[in-house]
Amino acid sequence: MIILTDEPLDPAAVTDSVRRDGNGAVVTFLGTTRDNFGGKTVTRLEYEAYDVMAIKKMHEVRDSLRADYGIEDIAIAHRTGRVDVGHISLVVAVASPHRVEAFEACHEAVNRIKTIVPIWKKEWFADGSRWVACEDHEFADEAEHRHAHAERHAVTTGD
C-alpha cells in the first residue's frame, strides 16, 4: 500500500495491510504535527507534494528497503495539505518474521522518505510561516540549510 492523499490518514488500515501469518513483528511509525518548534508555538503544518514524483519515490523507498532488508511487507501513506496539531501526516508500517529487522527497516524507511520524496512542509506560527528545510540544522543560517540539502540531494540523486 502506497498512498498520497489530502484526506486524513487511517493508521490502522495501513498497519493491517502489512500483517500476514508469516510475520511475528509489525512496527508502525506515525508522524504527527507537533505543537511547537524551536520554542515557538506551531498552529498547523501544510504539506505540498510533487505528486507524480512523490509516489514514484515512495515506491523506490519501498523497493530499496525490500532489497536491503529482505522485507516484503512495507506500506507508506503520506498526507498533503493542511495538517492540524496532533494529526497524522505520515504512516509507515513494516512487518517481518522477527522484530529487529522490522524496527530497523521502518526507521530507515522514514529516513529515506524524508530525504528523497519531494514533499515540502510549511510551519505556521501565530505570527507567520516558514518552509522547513532541515530541522537538524535549525540554528544554522538559512543559506547553510539549503547548501547542506543541495549536497544531500546531489548524493541522493546518484543512487
Partner: protein, 83 residues
C-alpha cells in the same frame, strides 16, 4: 527549446509563480536551465547554492541534456529533519 518549469513550495513563493517559461538552445543541459532561471529569478537561491532539478520525475545531474517535451521541475530542499 521552450520549457514550462514547475516550481514548488519555497521556490514557488520566492518566484511568485508556479510555472515559469524558459527558452534554451538545442542541446542545452540541466545546468543551462538553472542558469537561465537564475537570471530571471535571482531571489530563488544564492549563486553558491545548487538548485536541484527533476526531469520527467527523476532527479537530474547538471550535465544531463534536455529533450523537447521533458517535464522539468525545480525541487527545493525536502522537509527532512528529526520530526
Amino acid at each position: 527549446m521552450r520549457f514550462d518549469v514547475r516550481l514548488f513550495a519555497l521556490y514557488r513563493e520566492r518566484a511568485g509563480a508556479s510555472l515559469v517559461t524558459v527558452d534554451l538552445p538545442d542541446g542545452a543541459s540541466v545546468g543551462d536551465l538553472t542558469s537561465a532561471v537564475r537570471v530571471d529569478y535571482p531571489q530563488l537561491a544564492p549563486p553558491e547554492v545548487r538548485i536541484v532539478v527533476a526531469v520527467n520525475a527523476e532527479y537530474a545531474d547538471d550535465d544531463q541534456l534536455l529533450q523537447p517535451g521533458d517535464e522539468v521541475c525545480l525541487i527545493p530542499p525536502v522537509s527532512g529533519g528529526r520530526g
